[in-house]
């Protein structure tokens, strides 16, 4: 909303400078986006008198006009205007002057005669003037008067950001001025007196619960009139267009009092007018040329032939006022806000009237606005006659709140006396009688002591409140156990060398589908996505990370070691399960580095899985799975189980998929948070004081034998004395695959003899031969 400094000033006894006004607006809670001057360009437009007019020697349509400027200087200007005779006073823009449309004037040769600047029409100044090419100035201002002086001087325009609750100021200069005046203790200029109705049967209200007040008055205007200059100037300053006196004056009252008015061409309506709900399927052609189909939720103004306006939002074309209109019906009403809001939302018609009515208006203005219109038109000598008029309905009751100054001070955290709190509220327009606060009718946003506290805070300014820390019973702050796991996993992953990425949860359903393993439920779809690629909530995290791989590989060759802990969603019926998932991706390609090349393999990820489970203390393990999903390498993937449930997998991406992400091989790890997290108990062990004995065995194992089988047999046979079993080498030769394992034995109670250990090893070797594993010769 644009706010004019001069316009505010019309309502205040005195108005402070623009810096103070800006700060005042901010104290009221309005964000001032910009402050800029208005009318600067009018400073260089000056009033001149025509001394002589001669035809242009080279043209039938042009004239050379000699004008007299201030201090007697004369200038010859070429004009195409038909009017402008010696003795007339006209507006002249000398070279260098800027017109409202942006043109900057210069001296130009017109058919061989130099013409410095130009003589102006009303339109060229942005104004509506009486008919004629040049604006012949009727007032007796002296030659040399600037146009800026003629329109009353420069103005300052504040651009204010509207919040949805701006109802309290009614988007109105009067109500803003009232609040500012309250802050500064500057009295308001009294408003006009109520209009005197003559109770003609020109309107009736059939929906009083939607329209508590409805007034209509017939006005006859003098033909060919234009709006007064001061009014045009204020409207132009706040960005409004000048159209027709009947429309201009309603626009003025809209921004002045916050009261929307509507003018019908009386010749085009068949009265009386009726305020009623629309009939089903009734239609209305609106002023903007569109036709709307109405519903019984819409309130309309109808004449005897049907709707002529969508009440409080926009008029229809049938009763439209145009340049020829002289007899108008002026409507001034109070509509209930919510239904207007819904109506204009439904029809997508956020007109100025709708934005005012939809947020709530001041019903008291219904009595005053018509009188203001009459006065303006009469003063400008535009009003011919006042015809029949009527007011239907009555003022709605005022809201009240129990008076409790102590509670208000308590909510603000201040120790202010009752009188101080009362002063603020009274100055802001509240009446406090006994134990009751009566809320002004225009304050649709006020319903409790909290709202009063806000007004008191605004009145004195927030800097009047001394900040402090709350005094409360001390309680231990708690973290949520389940979410703490997320942080632990993040820390473990970074300590393992992986870098965290953060991707969007909204994904492309086509990209997600191939990576859904197991039962992940249905998709949650966004019904109004920004784009198809972000139209569903992901069920799995991996595809998001793979996109990160693709993005990065397209740009550089940094090693890929990334992870994310993020939300995934599964829909089951109308319920949405939201869980956390860890996904990690490792680029499986040699990383050239000094002093040692790194050769990442899927073993880095299986080891990572074990590391995580161990550090988290989750009772989990890797298991072979019978049906490997098609996006994984069937020979290099395992499932991860926790608490007896599958929670994820580790392995290599199917190579042809990896290639689509610009890498030959990719390793992946995914772990979803188990429903219930149980932590394996751990107790530290005192190390034995007896020596360790090591034995290495080089074993030849068959193609079909897994290390896991060897591992199990060794542990079963070696018994409690074996403390650890490690694979220290793997070798492939003509004989097949050989593994070298190191067994470490130790007793808690005695020094082990070689014989005892050798006997155990012999047992192990014997048992291994049963599963086809022999010692390498």
């Amino acid at each position: 909303m644009l706010v004019s400094h001069r316009w505010l000033g019309r309502h205040l006894d005195t108005i402070p400078d623009s810096d103070t006004v800006r700060r005042g607006l901010e104290q009221l809670g309005l964000e001032v986006v910009s402050v800029r001057p208005f009318g600067e360009d009018f400073q260089s437009i000056e009033l001149v008198e025509i001394e002589r007019r001669a035809p242009h020697p080279a043209s039938d349509h042009l004239a050379v006009v000699t004008i007299r400027r201030a201090r007697g200087a004369t200038v010859d200007v070429v004009t195409g205007a038909q009017n402008g005779q010696p003795g007339d006073r006209v507006w002249y823009a000398p070279p260098g002057a800027r017109l409202p449309d942006g043109r900057v004037l210069e001296t130009r040769a017109v058919r061989g005669i130099a013409s410095p600047g130009m003589l102006l029409s009303g339109e060229e100044l942005g104004y509506q003037a009486p008919p004629g090419d040049l604006w012949i100035w009727p007032q007796s201002d002296p030659v040399g008067t600037t146009f800026l002086d003629a329109v009353g001087g420069a103005d300052v325009i504040y651009e204010v950001e509207l919040t949805p609750n701006l109802a309290q100021y009614l988007q109105s200069m009067r109500h803003l001025a009232a609040e500012l005046g309250a802050l500064w203790n500057i009295p308001l200029v009294p408003l006009t007196t109520p209009f005197a109705w003559n109770n003609a049967a020109v309107a009736e209200v059939k929906a009083p619960d939607r329209c508590p007040l409805y007034a209509l008055v017939e006005l006859t205007l003098k033909p060919g009139a234009v709006s007064p200059l001061w009014l045009q100037t204020l409207l132009l300053a706040v960005g409004q267009r000048i159209i027709h006196p009947a429309v201009d004056v309603t626009n003025f009252v809209l921004w002045d009092l916050g009261q929307p008015l509507h003018a019908f061409d009386a010749e085009r309506v068949k009265g009386p007018l009726v305020v009623r709900l629309a009939e089903p399927r009734e239609t209305l052609e609106l002023l903007d040329g569109t036709a709307v189909e109405l519903t019984p939720h819409d309130l309309v103004i109808a004449d005897q032939e049907g709707p002529v306006a969508l009440a409080g939002i926009m008029g229809g074309t049938r009763a439209q006022v145009d340049a020829r209109s002289t007899r108008i019906w002026l409507e001034c009403a109070h509509f209930v806000a919510d239904p207007i809001f819904q109506s204009y939302k439904a029809h997508r018609l956020p007109t100025d009237a709708a934005l005012h009515f939809g947020k709530g208006t001041d019903p008291a203005m219904v009595f005053l606005a018509p009188q203001l219109v009459v006065e303006i038109l009469r003063d400008a000598d535009i009003l011919e006659a006042i015809g029949p008029s009527v007011l239907r309905g009555q003022l709605p009751p005022q809201d009240t709140i129990s008076w409790d100054a102590r509670r208000i001070s308590q909510l603000l955290g201040v120790a202010w006396e009752e009188e101080k709190v009362r002063t603020a509220l009274v100055r802001l327009g509240y009446h406090i009688e006994g134990g009751t606060v009566v809320v002004p009718r225009y304050r649709h946003d006020v319903s409790s002591l909290y709202d009063l506290a806000e007004d008191v805070a605004r009145f004195y300014g927030l800097e009047a409140i001394q900040p402090r820390l709350p005094v409360q019973r001390t309680e231990l702050a708690r973290r949520d156990a389940r979410h703490l796991w997320e942080e632990t996993v993040r820390d473990l992953m970074t300590s393992a060398g992986y870098t965290e990425v953060m991707t969007r949860t909204l994904v492309n359903p086509k990209a997600e589908a191939p990576y859904v393993a197991g039962d992940r439920g249905e998709l949650v779809r966004v019904t109004n996505p920004l784009r198809e690629e972000e139209s569903v909530l992901r069920r799995v995290l991996l595809p998001s990370l793979l996109e990160v791989v693709r993005f990065n590989r397209a740009r550089h060759n940094l090693p890929i070691r990334i992870f994310e802990v993020g939300s995934v969603f599964s829909r089951r019926g109308d319920a949405v399960e939201e869980t956390q998932e860890l996904a990690a991706v490792l680029g499986l390609e040699p990383v050239p580095a000094f002093p040692l090349h790194l050769e990442p393999s899927v073993y880095d990820l299986t080891g990572l899985a074990d590391f995580l489970l161990q550090r988290l203390g989750w009772a989990g393990e890797r298991r072979p799975w019978s049906l490997v999903p098609s996006f994984l390498h069937p020979g290099r993937s395992q499932e991860i189980w926790v608490n007896g449930h599958p929670v994820g997998y580790v392995g290599e991406l199917r190579p042809r998929l990896a290639e689509s992400y610009r890498l030959k091989r990719l390793g992946v790890l995914v772990i979803r948070w188990p429903e219930e997290i149980r932590v394996s108990p751990f107790r530290p062990v005192r190390p034995s004081r007896f020596p360790e004995v090591e034995r290495d065995l080089s074993l030849v194992i068959g193609d079909q034998t897994s290390y896991e089988a060897v591992h199990r047999v060794i542990w079963d046979e070696a018994g409690d004395l074996m403390k650890s079993l490690d694979v220290i080498d793997r070798y492939e030769g003509a004989f097949g695959v050989s593994l070298t394992v190191r067994m470490t034995f130790q007793s808690e109670v005695t020094t082990l003899t070689d014989e005892a250990v050798d006997a155990l090893v012999a047992k192990v070797v014997n048992r291994l031969s049963n599963i086809g594993v022999s010692l390498r010769q």
């Binding site: 308590q410 001390t474 949520d480 979410h483 109004n528 992870f563 969603f569």
Partner: protein, 345 residues
């Protein structure tokens, strides 16, 4: 050889060039068949008087030679070690091998910092679902279906009736109050993902918020201002100044926005802060009585304050970023750059 006196031998030993030469000297003088050893064997044949004097002399010579051998051996070993070490010299200007440790995403670091500051102020962590009911996201927060404020937050709707992607973390206010079942105090923060239909340099459709809520007897605007100022100074530095402005949110009354001194110009005014010296950082206010009631609390008996801030906005300020999208692009060149951020773990 034997023409050398033992004193001369000591001198030669002290000059010996290698451990091998020392070995020869040792064998020749004090070995099993060494000169002194042989002379000592001859002592038996001498009369007692002479034997004692001669024995004394030989022992002295032996001691001196052994001492010289030990001394020279130590010297030669030192020299040998030094030569060996010199031969082992490496070029340590080659790059060292750094421990392979990954990096947390900058938004995780900033969120943790915010949580840390507020945990120290006594706020517990609370959470709520991202796919939220319209009741929790709007109605319970005093945003009825026809309320103009619904336009402030352009929502993503999902194909489940009555559900939206939450447009803010504020629904956790209601959930937390419900969980407290009327107990006091309620003092929580709720970090989490939120969604709005926006996408440009300063808005992303998915972003992170941290919500805060305190409900207790006697909570006031002064408490709000004090708490948030303490938080801002802890988070952004002790010299940070705060300023509060009246604002409007449907779920707070009064509503306040907090500005902090512009980090770019230190409050002197610049392009970033539009010459005001201040940058808006969060929205806050006293909990609206309707919201308290919807959470099961009586607004005449208790009061509360709430605040909500964007993690991205704080991150942009802490790291001096001007484009929000960098934070979600996951360019490793950008993310790995954060290894230099010592102060912001």
């Amino acid at each position: 050889m034997s023409e050398l006196s033992w004193q001369e031998a000591v001198e030669h030993i002290a000059q010996a060039a290698s451990l091998d030469e020392l070995k020869e000297w040792r064998a020749r003088w004090v070995g099993r068949h060494g000169t002194i050893t042989e002379r000592m064997k001859e002592l038996k044949a001498l009369p007692p008087e002479e034997r004692r004097a001669r024995g004394y002399e030989l022992n002295q010579a032996r001691e001196a030679i052994l001492e010289a051998l030990a001394a020279r051996e130590a010297t030669l070993k030192d020299l040998g070690e030094a030569a060996n070490l010199e031969a082992e010299r490496w070029d340590l200007t080659l790059p060292g091998r750094q421990p392979e440790v990954g990096l947390l995403h900058p938004l995780t670091r900033v969120r943790r910092r915010i949580e840390d500051v507020l945990l120290r102020l006594g706020f517990s962590l609370a959470y709520g679902p991202q796919v939220e009911t319209e009741w929790y996201n709007f109605e319970a927060l005093n945003i009825p279906p026809n309320h103009p404020a619904r336009e402030m937050q352009d929502s993503f709707f999902v194909d489940i009736p009555g559900m939206v992607l939450r447009t803010h973390t504020s629904p956790v206010q209601i959930r937390a109050m419900e969980q407290h079942q009327g107990r006091l105090p309620v003092k929580i923060i709720a970090p989490g993902l939120t969604y709005r239909r926006d996408d440009d340099a300063t808005h992303v459709p998915m972003f992170q918020q941290v919500e805060g809520l305190v409900v207790d007897r006697g909570i006031s605007v002064a408490d709000l201002m004090g708490t948030l100022t303490a938080m801002a100074q802890e988070l952004l530095g002790p010299s940070t100044k705060t300023r509060f402005r009246s604002s409007y949110f449907p779920f707070t009354e009064p509503s306040l926005e907090m500005d902090v001194t512009c980090a770019v110009c230190q409050g002197r005014g610049c392009r970033v802060c539009k010459d005001t010296g201040w940058v808006e950082i969060l929205g806050s206010g006293l909990v609206h009585p309707t919201v308290l009631r919807n959470g099961g609390y009586d607004p005449d008996q208790v009061s509360g304050f709430a605040f909500g801030m964007g993690v991205e906005r704080i991150a942009m300020r802490l790291y001096g970023l001007d484009d929000l999208r960098l934070l979600y692009q996951n360019d490793l060149r950008f993310l790995l750059g954060f290894r230099h951020q010592g102060g912001l773990r």
